[in-house]
Every structure is written in C-alpha cells, then in structure tokens.
Amino acid sequence: MTRAISERGVALIDVLDRLLEGGVVLTGDLTLAIADVDLVRISLRALICQVEADRDDVGRQP
C-alpha cells in the first residue's frame, strides 16, 4: 500500500468507525458480538472514569 495519502498515523476515531461499523459481522460462539456492547455506556463511563484513565497513562501513539 502506498503512503501517498497520509503521513500521519491512523487516527483512532477512523479505526473505530471501521471496526465498530464495518467489517464482516458473523455471530461468533461467544456472546461478544460488538452489537452487544453498549456504546452509550462507553461514553458515560469514559466521562466519569477519565481520572483513572489519565493515571493509568496508557500512552498510545496518535
């Protein structure tokens, strides 16, 4: 693949768009299909748990 388009790293938000809304959807054996994950809860928890997240300092590349 060429790097003609973007010199920057891949943005998380764009990855999430594709991994949460794109890709083949099959019913796996474990009840862990992403459709089951409550995306509203993600936002609310992220809001409240941000202090912990900062302390953990996961330190990802942008």
Binding site: M1, T2, A4, I5, S6, V10, A11, L12, I13, D14, V15, L16, D17, R18, L19, L20, E21, G22, G23, V24, V25, L26, G28, D29, L30, T31, L32, A33, I34, D36, V37, D38, R41, I42, S43, R45, A46, C49, A53, D56, V58, R60
Partner: protein
C-alpha cells in the same frame, strides 16, 4: 491455553510463514486456519470473556483492542486481498472456524473476488467553523427571541449550504469509485478539530486509480470554500464487506 479463537480477517492462500511475527489481541500469536483456498487469520482469544467485554466498554481499553485488531488486518492486507472482520468475533475452537469457512465458502470467495485489486479511501468533510454570534442580553424578552430566531435561521442556512456542497463532492467522487459507503458523522467532542463533520464516507477505489482519486478529492475541496477536506487510508475494505453492497446512497 484457551481453545477459543479471535478472527481478524479472511484471505486466500496464506501460509503460517506469511503471518510470522504478527501478534494480535493481548500479544497472542496470529496464525492461519485454512479451508480449501480460504484462510481465516486468527489468534487465541483472551480467556476471560467477561473481562474482555468490560474492556470493550471503556474507551481507552477499547482503543487498545481496536488498534491490535487493525494492526493485524493492515499487515495482512499488504500481502493479499482480505475481508476484514468487525471487532470481537470469537469462536469456540479451531474446528468451528473451519466450519464457518466451509459454510460461507461461496460468500467469502465472491467477496474476495470483488475486492481484489481495490483499496478503501476515507473522505471526511467538515463545515467551516463560523462561530455563531454570541447572544447578547436584550432589553426585552421579545428582542431576545428575535435574536434567537435570527441565530437559528443563520444556522439552518449554513447547514443547507454545507449539505449541497457535500452532495457535489460525494457524487463526483462516487463516479470514480466502484462503490461507496457512509459512516455516521464523527462527534466533534471526540475530534478536537475545527468544524462539524458533515461527511464521513468511504469509497472503494481500484488500487491503480488511488492517486487520481485523491487528486480529484483535493481539487473538489478547493472549489468548496465552505468545506474542509480530510482524506484517510488507504484502508483494507472494512466498509465494503456486505455481499450485496450496491447501495450508492
């Protein structure tokens, strides 16, 4: 050692050597499961299902899983055409994966044929960020309502202009692409960038026309002062994995 398998993508004619050194979720080694010419790219899934589920509900931990998943897909996509899987598809054991390949053989084969020689390009458009005039305290309730009314009207106009510009860009790019797909607009809070995301689209483009496509996108954006363009990719074809994706809306 868990028997369950996390599936990243499906490809063709992949040998273990092609996946050597690749690691996926929680650093598990990536390896192939073959059925005829189809190959599922998998790794051992995290043993604790409940814990994984909880992780996926935290944005920061979801990010780690998503990036690990994407890294595997992207690496394999440099070697051969792949059909990427959505996040968190897990099977009980290797045999089950083989069965799925067998059951869906025709569908996956057709998909791989269709996607061969193509790449996905992401195109995002943002409406220029003209901050609305602040509402000033008014002498009377009626005057205040008048201000609000004007504000709402100006905002509606802004959106109408932006929508028309988006349609122009989208239809021109769509003409050059094999297929197109739209994701929901990205929330500004998550972006920290200027302007509202008014188009978050993916286009399926023949690999050989990639430069032509992105050049066109930049040319179109230059003609639309109300919009700001961002191009991402090339991506593995995440947005074009539905067998009958002929939707051009």
């Amino acid at each position: 050692m868990t028997a369950s398998r996390y599936v990243y993508a499906i490809g063709r004619a992949l040998e273990p050597a092609d996946l050597a050194g690749l690691v996926g979720i929680d650093g598990a080694e990536v390896h192939p499961i073959a059925h005829r010419d189809l190959v599922a790219v998998v790794s051992a899934a995290p043993a604790d299902e409940a814990a994984l589920r909880a992780r996926l509900e935290r944005l920061d931990e979801l990010a780690v899983v998503a990036e690990a998943h994407h890294a595997v897909v992207a690496a394999v996509a440099t070697q051969t055409v792949v059909v990427p899987f959505r996040l968190a598809t897990i099977y009980r054991d290797e045999q089950r994966v083989g069965e799925v390949l067998h059951e869906r053989y025709a569908e996956f084969s057709a998909l791989l044929d269709r996607l061969t020689g193509t790449v996905e390009v992401g195109v995002k458009l943002y409406a220029e960020d003209r901050a609305p005039a602040p509402v000033t305290p008014s002498a009377s309730g009626r005057a205040y309502l008048q201000q609000l009314s004007q504000r709402h009207r100006r905002r509606d106009e802004k959106w109408q202009h932006a929508a028309a510009a988006v349609e122009r860009v989208d239809s021109s790019l769509g003409a050059l692409a094999l297929d197109r797909s739209r994701h929901r607009p990205q929330a500004a809070q998550l972006l920290g960038v200027a302007g509202d995301n008014v188009l978050n689209a993916a286009y399926l483009v023949p690999a050989g026309r990639l430069t032509e496509f992105t050049d066109l996108a930049h040319r179109l954006a230059r003609d639309e002062p109300a919009l700001r363009l961002e191009v991402t990719g090339p991506w593995a074809p995440y947005s074009f994995t539905e067998p009958d994706h002929g939707d051009r809306s």
